[in-house]
Symmetry: C2
Subunit: 349 residues, 2 copies
DNA sequence: TCCGAAATTGCATTCGGATGCAATACTGCC
DNA sequence: GGCAGTATTGCATCCGAATGCAATTTCGGA
C-alpha cells in the first residue's frame, strides 16, 4: 500500500500537510515515479505527462522535498562554509561572494561561524551529520578533524590557509609575495627601522604575513625590527602602535600591520598620541584592501586580495571535487593587488 | 529483511559506505531502534546498552544521518537566514551573530545571500524545498512570497523591516526614534539648514530613516532641507555630499546620512573637496554604529543598533514560533544607542 | 498494415533513522 | 518467593523521492 493514508485535500486547514509526490500523482492520475521524473532534469517523460503533473503540482503547491531526495540520492547538495568570527573584517565579503557562487550552481550553503578559529569540534560534527557534499573553510582544522573528514571522504578546500606537509586543496592569496612587495617598497624609500604588528597568534594568515615580512627584511639585511601582536581589531591596532614605540624607544621608520584595520589603528594612534604625520614622519602599511583602507583619511598602502577571483576559484575547485572525488588536491595561490596609498612614503608606480 | 546488504567492514576501502545505525546495531548485537534511542535525548536506554552501542559506534565512526532524521521527524533543524548583499556594511556582523545564536541552540543555518533585495524568488523556492523550520530575513519579501510562506506554515521573523499592515513578526531598531534624536540634537545646537543623504531607494530601512528625519524636522519647523540619494557606499557618500552642496548652493549646516559609511564619505568630501572643518563648519551624522564610525579620523555621531540584543531577540522569537506555531506575530523595536561623536557640533551628554 | 526499436510509464524497493506497540527484563515491596 | 509496576528492548512501519527493471505505448519504416 503506497497510497498516503490521508490525501491533502481531505485535511482540516489547521493542520494541512505539505503535498508530496504521492498527492500530486493521485490528483494527476499517474504514478509517483512519474511525478518524480517530471521534477528531474534528465528523466524521460512525455509532454502530456509533464503538463498533467505540473498542473496538479501547481494546484497543490507541491515542492519536491530536498531532504527526502538527499536521503535516496546520497547527495545533500549542501556545502559547509566555515568562517571564524575574528578571522578578518574582510571575510564577510568573502562569505557573501562564496554563497552567491554556490547558489548560482544550485548548491546550498550551510554556514558555520566559529567563535574562535579553534572551535571546529561541534561544527565539524554537525556538518558530518548533515552529510554536506563538501567543506569550504576559512578556519583551520586540527589533525584529528582532518583525519575524520578524510575518512568520511568529504572534499575540502581551504581558504587562505593550507598545510604545507599535507595533501589538501586550497585557494589562497600569496601573503609572502605581498609582504615582500611592501617591504621592498619601504626599504627602497629609505626606511631602515621597522615595526611589525601581527594578528592573533592562532591565525595562520597572520603568521604567514609576519614571516613574509621578516624573511624579506632579513634578505635585505635589515635587523632593526620590533614586533608586537594584536587581534586584527582597530583598538588593538592603536595599542600596538603605542607598545611598538615604547619597545623600540622611538617610533620606527615604518610599521607593517597584519591587516588594514590594525594599520588604521596605528595611523590614528601615531597621529593622535604621538603627533606624527603620516607618511611624512612614519610610513604605515596594511594588508587586505578592505573598504576603510580607501577612506581619504587613511588611504592605506596595502595589498588587496583578489576576492572575486579567489572565491570563484575556491567554489569551482570544491564543486569539481564533489563531482569527481578522485581529483588530486591542488593548491592555488593568487597574487595580491599592490595598492599604493598615501599612508607610506614610497614611490608611485 | 532489514539488514543491509553489505556491512561496512566487508567493503573495499575505496568505496567505503558511511556507517548506518544498522551497522552499529549489528556490531553491537542489538536492534537498530536501540541505536536510534541511544543517540536521542529523552529516549530510554540502559547504561549497559549505551556503552555497547557507543563502543560500536566509535569503532565504525558512526554519526546519525541528520537528513534521514529530518525526513522522519519532519524537522530539519535548519533555518534559512536571508541577507542581501548591499543591505548594509553592518549586516555581516548581524549574520555572524545570528548564526552563533542558532548554533548554540542546536539549529543550523542555511544561508541565502541575495544580489539585490528583490531577488527572493529562487531563494524562497530553495528554502521551501529544504524544509527549513523557519526563516529569518533581512530582505523584504513581496506579497506572493509572503503568501507562499504563510501557506507552507513556516514561521518568519523579519530583521529591521516590517509590514505595518501585515501580521508578521519582526525585530527592528527604531529608526524613527534614532533620527528624532539626531535631529533634535542638531537643531538644539543651532543648525537650521539640513542635507539628507538617503540610501538605495528599495531599502525599507533607508526610507524609514529619511521619513524619521523629515518628520522631526517638520515638527520643529525647519524647512531648509535638501535631499540626495546614494547606495550606502563610501563613494556615493562623497558624491552625495558634492551634489548636496550644488543643489543647496552652499554647504548646509548639517548632513544626515542614512548610514555611517555614507556619513564618512560626506566627511571626507567636505574636508577634501570643500576644505570644511568637521564639526566646526558643518555637522555630519550617520546611523548604525559600525566599526569605522569609531575611527579617530571620523568619530561619527550616530545611533548604534544594539545588534547583540536584536539578534538574540530575533533568534529567540523565531525558535519560539517553531516550537509553537500558534504564537501570534510580534513586533519588537529596540531603541538605538545614542553615540555622541565629534563629527557633529552637539552638546555632550 | 505490421514488426521491431525506442520512448514512456508503473511497480517495487531503497535510503537511514524514529517511534507506537507489544514483549520482556528489572525493581521494589509485602 | 510472588506480584504489580516500571524500565528496556525489539518489531514493524513510516517519512518522501529516486531508480532498476519490466510492461506498455509510440513511432518509423518497409
Amino acid at each position: 500500500m503506497n497510497k498516503p493514508l490521508k490525501s491533502v485535500e481531505k485535511q482540516g486547514k489547521g493542520e494541512r500537510r505539505r503535498a508530496t509526490s504521492y498527492d500530486v500523482a493521485e490528483l494527476a492520475g499517474v504514478s509517483q515515479s512519474a511525478v518524480s521524473r517530471v521534477f528531474q532534469d534528465g528523466a524521460s517523460a512525455s509532454q502530456a505527462m509533464r503538463d498533467r503533473v505540473m498542473a496538479a503540482a501547481d494546484k497543490l503547491g507541491y515542492r519536491p522535498n530536498a531532504i527526502a531526495r538527499g536521503l535516496i540520492t546520497q547527495r545533500s547538495n549542501m556545502v559547509a562554509v566555515v568562517i571564524s568570527k575574528l578571522t578578518n573584517l574582510y571575510y564577510p565579503e568573502v562569505l557573501v561572494q562564496l554563497t552567491q557562487r554556490f547558489s548560482e550552481r544550485g548548491v546550498r550553503v550551510l554556514l558555520f561561524a566559529l567563535e574562535r578559529e579553534s572551535d571546529t569540534g561541534t561544527a565539524l560534527e554537525q556538518m558530518l551529520q548533515y552529510r554536506v557534499d563538501g567543506i569550504l573553510t576559512a578556519a583551520m582544522f586540527d589533525n584529528d578533524a582532518l583525519r575524520t573528514i578524510e575518512n568520511a571522504r568529504i572534499p575540502v578546500v581551504f581558504y587562505n590557509r593550507t598545510l604545507q606537509d599535507q595533501q589538501v586543496s586550497s585557494v589562497r592569496c600569496d601573503q609572502q609575495e605581498g609582504e615582500r612587495w611592501l617591504v621592498d617598497e619601504l626599504v627602497k624609500a629609505g626606511h631602515r627601522s621597522f615595526g611589525i604588528v601581527e594578528g592573533p597568534t592562532d591565525s595562520v594568515v597572520s603568521i604567514e604575513r609576519k614571516m613574509g615580512a621578516l624573511n624579506e627584511l632579513a634578505a635585505l639585511g635589515i635587523s632593526d625590527i620590533t614586533t608586537v601582536s594584536g587581534d586584527y581589531g582597530y583598538e588593538t591596532g592603536r595599542q600596538c602602535f603605542a607598545e611598538l614605540v615604547e619597545k623600540h624607544g622611538s617610533p620606527p621608520d615604518a610599521v607593517i600591520a597584519a591587516n588594514d584595520v590594525m594599520a588604521i589603528g596605528c595611523i590614528d594612534e601615531a597621529r593622535e598620541a604621538f603627533g606624527l604625520q603620516v607618511p611624512h614622519d612614519i610610513s604605515i602599511v596594511g594588508f587586505d584592501g578592505v573598504g576603510p583602507a580607501r577612506y581619504a583619511a587613511y588611504d592605506v598602502t596595502t595589498v588587496r586580495q583578489p576576492v572575486e577571483r579567489m572565491t570563484e576559484s575556491a567554489a569551482a575547485m570544491l564543486l569539481e571535487r564533489i563531482e569527481n572525488p578522485d581529483l588530486s588536491p591542488e593548491k592555488r595561490a593568487f597574487s595580491g593587488i599592490h595598492v599604493r596609498g598615501s599612508s607610506a612614503r614610497i614611490a608611485a608606480t
